[in-house]
């Protein structure tokens, strides 16, 4: 078994995979992990090479665009366990093209596709569950703490949908933020965050929504278990309709 190590960054991961694929080693007989710098650690460290990472992306985009999509979702999961599976998945993607995503009976393909699917599901979910509040200066703020790092594609979704208003999305788990000024998107981090004051009419609209939410349920069909399986409690913290329950 060949053993390789990388520095733990997403870019390092992709560039390490590129280097291994070029080395001619059989990916099925190779493992890849993060360098821990312990005394007895085995394996060859592969230095991060941005150009090599970019080149691998380009080649994969031509050969298997759907696999690039899966890779993109995979990085949103911010997992540091499945590097070896990802290596083998990408090797198979070069061999078979986009058909690779159908090879679910292969354990490494299954692992990567499952993670990517989970990330894409949460992205879709957040498109519905994100709540904007109007601030005193007329701009809008939405806060969230998703499991996956979905802020970039999420912000792009809202830049098409709510393009006439200036807004911020804040990921409180990662202290990252997106800003739409009506024309362009920008991303950054916020170490210190406190919610600014809300606009005078915000409270009223929130109450209207809470009233609507309460009355739209059919009392004879009450089913809190189904509600929670569709909308897990971890998302309630920022849901207007779940405040004050």
């Amino acid at each position: 078994m060949n053993k390789y190590l990388y520095d733990g960054t997403p870019e390092g991961l992709v560039s390490a995979i590129g280097a291994i694929l070029e080395s001619g080693d059989d990916p099925e007989k190779t493992v890849l992990g993060i360098r821990q710098d312990t005394l007895f650690e085995e394996g060859l460290f592969l230095r991060t090479d941005s150009a090599a990472a970019e080149a691998l992306f380009q080649r994969l985009r031509e050969r298997a665009p759907d696999a690039v999509q899966a890779l993109w979702y995979f990085t949103m999961a911010e997992t540091s366990e499945l590097e070896t599976s990802l290596l083998r998945y990408i090797a198979l993607a070069f061999e078979h093209g986009d058909r690779v995503n159908g090879y679910l009976t292969h354990p490494d393909v299954k692992a990567v596709v499952a993670i990517a699917r989970k990330a894409s599901r949460e992205l879709h979910r957040m498109k519905g569950l994100l709540r904007f509040e109007q601030l005193r200066d007329g701009t809008w703020l939405a806060r969230m703490e998703p499991d996956h790092n979905v802020i970039q594609p999420l912000a792009r979704h809202f830049s098409r949908r709510l393009r006439a208003q200036e807004w911020f999305i804040y990921d409180a788990r990662r202290h990252s933020a997106a800003h739409w000024d009506g024309r362009a998107l920008s991303f950054g981090t916020l170490e210190q965050f406190s919610r600014p004051e809300l606009s005078p009419e915000e409270q009223q609209v929130q109450q209207l929504w809470q009233t609507f939410f309460k009355t739209i349920a059919i009392p004879e069909r009450k089913n809190p278990r189904l509600q929670q399986s569709n909308m897990p409690a971890k998302y309630w913290k920022y849901l207007t309709e779940k405040q004050g329950e």
Binding site: L104, G128, V205, L208, F213, R221, Q227
Partner: protein, 417 residues
């Protein structure tokens, strides 16, 4: 009247409408406007009954001149009445949309002065949203039976989806429970909508700028369990609506007794399991190539409560099984209990690489608990299969071990897509 109070009355009155779909339309918003639609639809919340909330589902008014036995808004009911102005609905929609509470608006209404009077006001709401607010989100308008073709055309041009409620599964029941409504007044707009949508498709093939007519199609809804029709009759009606009227969706709504009326059955609870089974059977019609007569017959005209309709069919057709997973066609795979549209496609994709084993079936996401009795993988059965229908029924019901079958959580596939 305060806005709060109006919302309480008019969303409470709208909650029995089943549809909340926001799918089937994809519109890019205009540069200066607000909102777009997404092909797959987006759920924004789930209410206390577990149903998805995607649209601001509300009545323009609950002040009704009709006296339909099953309806909470019927004229003889002593409930508080309220009406919105068009402006109020428009503002509410925009306020909610900007906060990402909703995908758009689902507007329905009781009928007071006349069908045209109500329809005109509803169309005005949709047109104000599109023209004044440049609203690009989803709009679903209910069509009031008896309104003029011109208003229906305007509704179809402003909305993504329009729907006419068929209300009950037969004209006799309609006659008995909603005597002021006429079958012809319901079917005529359905036909008109189907024709207009067809014309729009042809026009749009010639020019991309031709107007869209209800791009997310038309749907309808009927109440289940308030009248004596069998499930077979209901499924045949649905099949006819899908085939002849080109409907996108038929919604089934379990009868919730909200009125005392001696024309109505007395139920201890709404027939939710029956509603669930009908949705499953409806799926078999639309995506699995089943006909109503395969699912049910005159001798057994109602769906089995213990088994989903596909498992029930499989139990009646032992000669069809076992199905060989590595050779069977897509259509054949779809007939296996536990294999859905997604897993059938995945099986076909995976077996191009290597034969699929029992272990592989689990990876693919097949519900092996049900499928294992009906398949072989490369000639191998999962275990020695006892094909005696009576035995099979029992094992499917009770599972393999001594574990008790958990009561099923009811889900409503009908509320999304």
């Amino acid at each position: 009247m305060e806005l709060q109070e109006k919302i309480t009355i008019l969303s409470g009155a709208a909650r029995y409408d089943a549809s909340c779909a926001s799918s089937g339309s994809s519109r890019e918003g205009s540069a200066c406007g607000v909102g777009n639609t997404s092909q797959g639809g987006i759920c924004h919340s789930w209410s206390d009954d577990g149903r998805c909330v995607s649209l601001l589902k509300i009545l323009l008014s609950n002040d009704c001149r009709y006296d339909c036995a099953y309806c909470v808004n019927r004229s003889s009911n002593p409930v508080p009445r309220a009406s919105f102005t068009a402006r109020e609905v428009v503002d509410l929609t925009m306020d909610f949309y900007r906060r990402n509470y909703i995908e758009g608006l689902f507007l329905s209404s009781a009928v007071n002065v006349s069908p045209d009077h109500t329809m005109e006001e509803m169309v005005r709401v949709a047109e104000m949203l599109r023209n004044e607010e440049r609203f690009g989100g989803y709009i679903h308008l209910k069509i009031i039976p008896g309104s003029s073709p011109e208003l229906i055309r305007r509704a179809g041009l402003a909305a993504d989806r329009i729907s006419v409620n068929i209300e009950l599964p037969s004209s006799e029941s309609l006659q008995r429970l909603a005597p002021q409504k006429k079958k012809e007044a319901i079917l005529a707009p359905m036909k008109l909508i189907g024709a207009e949508a067809g014309v729009s498709l042809v026009e749009r093939r010639k020019s991309r700028n031709a107007p869209r007519f209800a791009p997310a199609g038309q749907s309808t809804q009927m109440i289940i369990g308030a009248s004596p029709e069998t499930d077979l009759q209901i499924l045949q009606l649905s099949q006819g609506l899908y085939r002849k009227m080109n409907l996108k969706r038929v919604y089934y709504s379990a009868f919730v007794p909200v009125n005392d009326d001696n024309r109505l059955p007395v139920l201890s609870a709404p027939p939710l399991l029956r509603e669930h089974r009908l949705y499953q059977a409806d799926w078999l019609l639309r995506f699995y190539g089943f006909s109503p007569e395969e699912i049910l017959s005159d001798d057994a005209p109602n769906l089995d409560e213990s088994f989903d309709p596909k498992t029930a069919w499989a139990l009646r057709h032992p000669e069809f099984f076992p199905v060989e997973i590595n050779r069977a066609s897509y259509a054949t795979l779809l007939r296996v209990p536990g294999i859905g549209v997604v897993s059938a496609k995945r099986i076909i994709a995976a077996r191009r690489f290597a034969p699929v084993t029992h272990e592989g079936m689990k990876k693919i996401g097949v519900v092996m608990k049900r499928a294992k009795y009906f398949i072989t993988c490369s000639g191998r059965p999962f275990e020695k299969i006892d094909q005696q229908p009576a035995r099979l029924r029992q094992r499917l019901l009770l599972g393999d071990g001594s574990e008790q079958k958990q009561p099923r959580q009811l889900v409503l596939p009908g509320l999304f897509a």
